[in-house]
Amino acid sequence: MTDSRARILSRIRTAVADAPEAVPVARDYRTSHTPDDPARVLDLLHENLADYRAHVHRSTPDGLAGLVARLLAERGARSVVVPPGLPGEWLAATEAVRRFDEPRLTPYELDGTDAVVTGCAVAIAETGTIVLDGGTGQGRRALTLVPDLHLCVVRAPEQVVASVPLALPRLDPARPLTWISGPSATSDIELDRVEGVHGPRTLEVILLTGGAATPTPGGRAPSAG
């Protein structure tokens, strides 16, 4: 093993010994393609999430519990996984059975649960992406993967950025990150798009506005949940 390491490194050094110095990287591409206006950025996020077949809703903190309960009921979700640190009031109105991940649910237990409700770390408008980093209210990666319905709450404007270049500096690479753009999908059969091959078949996103006073789950909070 060590032999190959030395061999590969030495081959690399020989291979590029006479190569010219590489040109510096010019970062003259755009930081964002969207005007710096939170309302427009939020509209774009809404539009792009919906374009990739996520179901998008808007709410204020007052209406959130009712909306979560209604969406779970409409999808027939009778059980829901609750990630550590999820604000209790989000699930205050649902009748679904709550399953906590302490001790850790097995893959089979997750498979036997209908839905999961989470927050997120960042949402990216230009690509219609929500990013989960395992922070408070998001749980470990398997929680948003195995149940068939994922309901995600995005706090606007704090958690919304316009573009990929604006999202990366807000994320911590040391944490496991999952970028989600619409529900699981495949186009492998004659390029016909089909939703829900292995991940959740349904992605409900609630854009939560007007509630800066409520504590925000997610982001780069040190408590990993």
Binding site: I12, L168, P169, T178, G196, V197, H198, A224
Partner: protein, 467 residues
Amino acid sequence: MPAFPKAAHEAVRNETLRANLRHATHTIRDKRARAVAELDDWAALREAGKRIKDRTLRQLDTHLLQLEEAVTAAGGTVHWAADAAEANRIVTGLVRATGESEVVKVKSMATQEIGLNEHLEAEGIAAYETDLAELIVQLGEDRPSHILVPAIHRNRGEIRDIFRSEMGKWGRPAPDDLTDSPAELAEAARLHLREKFLRAKVGISGANFMVAETGTLVVVESEGNGRMCLTLPETLISVVGIEKVVPTWRDLEVFLQTLPRSSTAERMNPYTSMWTGTTDGDGPGTFHLVLLDNGRTDALADEVGRQALRCIRCSACLNVCPVYERAGGHAYGSVYPGPIGAILTPQLRGTASEVDASLPYASSLCGACYEVCPVAIDIPEVLVHLREKVADQGGKGHRLEKAAVRAAGWVLDHPGVLAAGERIASKTRRLHPKKLPGPGAGAWTESRDLPEMPAEPFRDWWRKNRT
């Protein structure tokens, strides 16, 4: 495996294949153009991607060492594999150490390149491909024909037949009343694979990027099978080519914009997973990274050819290539098909075999591949460069080609001869053979159709109708 001209000759006569390919490549091609047009700084992103990759390759040793340090610090273990045999040996050993005899796999070009599945099978370890298209290929005992959509050569009826007859041999069978609707086929695959995901203890993946400064690996995918393999097992083994490293976290801002739009023509693919070593309480407790050379340092040593190592495997070049569109991926006889395969494979494997020596000629040099490449690989330039190399090793066709061109030049310089020749050719057109006679010329028309001769020469037609 036959060389490209022979394989392509057979492929172009398969009408289902051609229809499937044409539909698929044209659809993706048009969507890609729209997705790219949304970003008005595409040229700057492309240039930045090219330069990041070039700088990385120039300092590849430094970046790999930094990556190794970061992955190790984050709880992972790094292995170095000089060639396919060594990589296979390492992976087999790692799977053995877990005591397991089956693994779930997320589609990976690198593991295909080293023939890992076949190797594991010979060692008594079952490797289940979990990407829907890879599953179709694996169940059908077939080979992938496209980097991005490996079963692009199969239509829905064929897929239903494969699922019906083969799924039961590997696990949960397909439902008896399975139709050929894509939704039903996908559902059958979901149920078949879920039982494997839930019990899997070992996952094997490749990676799209590795970040040297942080030790982070990145996998982009659509179906969630990647997330399943990367998240649920206790042990994760990732086999990644050494050229997949990028220096900084920030560099991802370029490739996460250019890769999805170039490959699936989406603003962003449904799922991107990023992980750094291991995380307590989330995902595999054991992580191994196998860094694969397998000919990459040979490509790196070639000053023209090394740009092929910039490739981020988006497959945009396949979808615009007129040769790929007609011949299909199998004709290339290589894990990497299409224009990128035509320059990457002969560099990774050398040009000693007939298949590899034929690949640099599997192109019309139209340049469309260079236009769409998000890291600006000048594929035609490398093709010509590799043709020179092949010619230098002493092929036989090239002298004859030169003689034919010289003869044609003389005829074109003598209008009388040309006119007479044309008239004779028109009059005798029913008698013309489909192939030219002679050793060199015969080889030429084996892979090309001779054009039909018109009923009369253009000069005669012009004289009759326009003067």
